[in-house]
């Protein structure tokens, strides 16, 4: 996987915070040091409120980095993200630790890449799509979401990918069903060099199996409950073929072949 970056503690200013659909938002933060250092697949550890009884930071994938800003997609699931949704432009109350983690690995030999996202799993794939396209890689995206308005990164993917196919649970856009139906067909149609995926763990597991069955390399980005984010607390472990690894520094991106899908993890609701 790609190299880690030097992380810093950085105070950030909210540039923009907008609602994308029911319970889903996008926040743009002025964070020059992080924006310069970040690579696709990295995350930031965001301190949302210094006065709340929730002390811990919340990890968020960096969706895009442009100039001095980084962009985060979030879903309102708990107290932290509820307060995040209320932040106004100009707010200077938050700080981040980042960029953190081991991101997506990109090989010069890659000509065709398939990106498979489920819901907010599109977040860490945003920067990746941009970077792959810049390198001349033919990118195909398969996106899944509950409804059409939750296909939150669609515009970005359509701008940078050769082709984008969507699936929704309610049939409001594209295929009426799972994104894994699309990824399976695409893998049969095209000889991809690599599959990158992020989304619900059950979905990633299916995508990883589809890639494995066709001998295509696959990388997954896993989410875990995290406390420190820098590799000290060992809260966020992922079971791998070489023992328990830390999602925060050894991941969040792992080679799918390495992951032991033991299903022991409940998704964080922060």
């Amino acid at each position: 996987m790609s190299d880690r970056a030097k992380a810093t503690l950085e105070h950030v200013t909210v540039v923009r915070n907008e609602r994308l659909s029911e319970g889903v938002g996008r926040i743009v933060l002025d964070a020059p040091r992080c924006a310069r250092a970040v690579r696709p697949g990295h995350f930031v550890h965001l301190r949302i409120d210094r006065d709340a009884s929730e002390l811990l930071r919340r990890p968020f994938s960096i969706h895009l980095a442009q100039g001095n800003t980084v962009e985060i997609l979030y879903q309102v699931l708990g107290a932290g993200t509820r307060r995040l949704a209320e932040k106004k432009p100009g707010d200077t109350s938050m700080d981040i630790v980042g960029p953190l983690g081991t991101g997506w690995s990109m090989s010069d030999a890659t000509a065709h890449a398939l990106l498979v996202s489920g819901g907010l799993g599109a977040a860490p794939l945003g920067m990746l799509a941009v970077e792959l396209a810049r390198r001349g890689v033919a990118v195909v995206c398969a996106m899944g979401a509950p409804t059409v308005d939750r296909l939150v990164a669609r515009d970005l993917f359509e701008k940078h990918a050769r082709r984008v196919e969507c699936a929704t649970d309610d049939g409001s856009s594209g295929h009426h069903g799972f994104v894994t139906d699309i990824s399976e067909r695409l893998l049969d149609e095209t000889a991809f060099d690599v599959v990158y995926t992020c989304g619900p763990e059950a979905m990633q597991r299916i995508v990883a199996e589809q890639a494995r069955a066709r001998a295509v390399a696959c990388q997954v980005s896993l989410e875990r409950l995290m406390a420190c984010g820098v590799g000290a607390c060992l809260s966020c472990v992922v079971t791998t073929r070489s023992g328990r690894k830390r999602a925060c520094v050894d991941g969040p991106v792992f080679n799918a072949e390495e992951v032991v899908w033991d299903g022991s993890e409940t998704p964080p609701r922060h």
Binding site: T8, L225, S235
Partner: protein, 304 residues
Amino acid sequence: MDLSVEVAGLSLRTPVMTASGTFASGREFADFVDVRALGAIVTKGVSFVPWPGNDSPRMAETASGMLNSIGLQNPGVEAFCDVDLRWLARHAPETPVIVNVCGHSVEEYVRVVGRLESEPHVSAYELNISCPNVDEGGMAFGTSCSGAHEVVTACRAATARPLIAKLSPNVADITEIARSVEAAGADAVSLINTLLGMSIDAGTRRPRLARVVGGLSGPAIKPVALRMVWQVANAVSVTVIGMGGIMSGEDAVEFLLAGADAVAVGTANFVDPTSVERVTHGISGYCRDHGIARARDLVGGLIT
């Protein structure tokens, strides 16, 4: 400003150490703090053979704190020497390294200490007789006077280096345990380890931790920690290292006033990776504001 203190015969540059299990062995924080400026580094718990730790979820956030149930996952003493000690010797050669030692049995504690005796970059041992997250060893030793006495006696026979016993708050009278480890030859006590707690998700009717119970840390436990440090400092004559929810320099000063000779910063490292430096600067600032020339003059300075 003189921040230096004596801890179990060691001279520390500052009274601020790291709490075991919250700072790895320093490398993970090197982007954020100057590890050479710490009073001492207390490492993650080290066992003789690798321990896999507990199943996930291992962490749950609670009001003003968190529960953990890591279960002392560590790669064992050989890997610790090869990786962590080597890194520390290179990047923090002057900083005292206190190795937190754990075992499933008295013999395992002794074997870890025995293996580390030949390592020149180890300054002292902190005996972890208080981890609430393992079935054997850990807190099982630290919650009875006889168990605590037995571990300390056996390790005392294995080393002339300073021995620190880390005490569990999950006891009826912590001063009894403190007296028994003092009698067994401990040079210092450190307290408190985490308080046994649990968290339930009412929506799913399930515990939030895979092991159901875990150790509570953070500001939520600070009043309990201060009370116990004050009681223990009045009960023993060995060095007392205070910890439990220290987030700021002022928190640290409260522990010194209660009778701690030094302090350790734990959960705060997770919230703010620069915490150890911030707490150290905070103690300096307090001393300056209150006309105190030496931080050690604060120790036991509580006015009652």
